[in-house]
Amino acid sequence: MERFEDLVSLAVLAGLVAMTTTMMLFNVKKKKNEEEKKFITVVKCPKCGFTKTRDWKEGDFVGMVEGKCPKCGSLMKIHAIYKEGEEEEEKLPISI
């Protein structure tokens, strides 16, 4: 009987350790995801409206002139810079 109780205690303990480890790993994964943010630069031709997107690079700002439009030859400008993806909503104990 005593051995059985020991086994149960051990199983509970192992369960707790497994749960904590899983939670920790989940948090690490989440933090890793947070670090891997991607920023997008939208370049647009103010004349014909031709738009292209590319990865953001240091020195970009909205209004910066960037090359000629492949369609109409006008100067293209940076139209927007944004963070890709949406903020994750926090999980609530009840849904509203």
């Binding site: 943010k37 700002f61 139209h79 944004y82 963070k83 949406e86 903020e87």
Partner: protein, 349 residues
Amino acid sequence: MAFLFMAFTGADQRFRMYFWAKSIKSKMEEIKDMADESKKETVEILKKMGVKGAEELVDRLSEFFSISPVDIEPTDITKRMAHIFRTGLRRWEKELDKNIEGDVPRANKHNALVMIEITNSLNMIYKVIRHYLLYALKNNNIFIIMQLWMIMPQITKISKTLREALDTFKHCRPVGDSVGPLVAYRLLENKKRLWRPAPDTVAGEVDIEGRKLIVVKAEGPGATVGNPGEAIERVVEERRGNVDLILTVDAALKLEGEETGSIAEGSGAAIGDPGPEKIAIERIATKYGIPLEAIVIKMSNEEAITDMTQKIAEAADKVVKMVIDRVKELPKGATAVVAGIGNTCGVAQ
């Protein structure tokens, strides 16, 4: 037995207080790390800009404070407030200029000043928490500890947002609050001329099917909010009040449950300054009886000071269309003033 012992001796409360204090301390240390990291990065940026004694300068400015004007005598309180804020800002700019070697673009200086401001905020948050924790422990005050423990998750969240914002300003990318200047930039794409009606603020003239549109925004792409109140006041005074509409576009804090990037219209001046700029817009509109309208783009506090999201960037296009439609409602020959309020980090004109 143990339960009775604890209940009668108050040991349970002692234990609870101990665990709460431990939890506060660990979160406080997290904030301290953020403040230190922030300081380190700011010093690095200043050194890259060629600032002499960068570490000493950040140390000194991270302790800088502003004293609110006397409010039991409200006469001219906004003027006094504006004077105090500008004194502080000028002092920071002078300190930076004094220690800079060579020519540095104004935009870079503005970004550095915002980074120092973030370092200052994180430092203050850490010091206030430390103060209350030490005070409560010295006086064995479980109620202060309990309250501090309860609000620590929010304070930590604010601190993390500030830490994240530092990276955004460091790389001069638009923040959520830049949506107002972004709308102004898009309206200014076909501008006829551009001038500077107030420090760090620009205005441009655009023709919309026979109506004159004057667009006001902070001067980018450096991180600054400019002086839109003063600029609107000058623009309207220059025209002796001959303006048919003043429209402000700004980011607004959403209520929990509201969607980021949703747009709302209203009346009044949409501007989140402590008072001086807002009252300047209200006064000039009231003086000449000019309709004062507002369009806001909703977002959370975190979204307002960190990298602009796609939803907010897309909302800017919708607002541009709304502004143009609203101006077209005015008769031909009318003049409207539109101000894109907010920090113009990463947005030129």
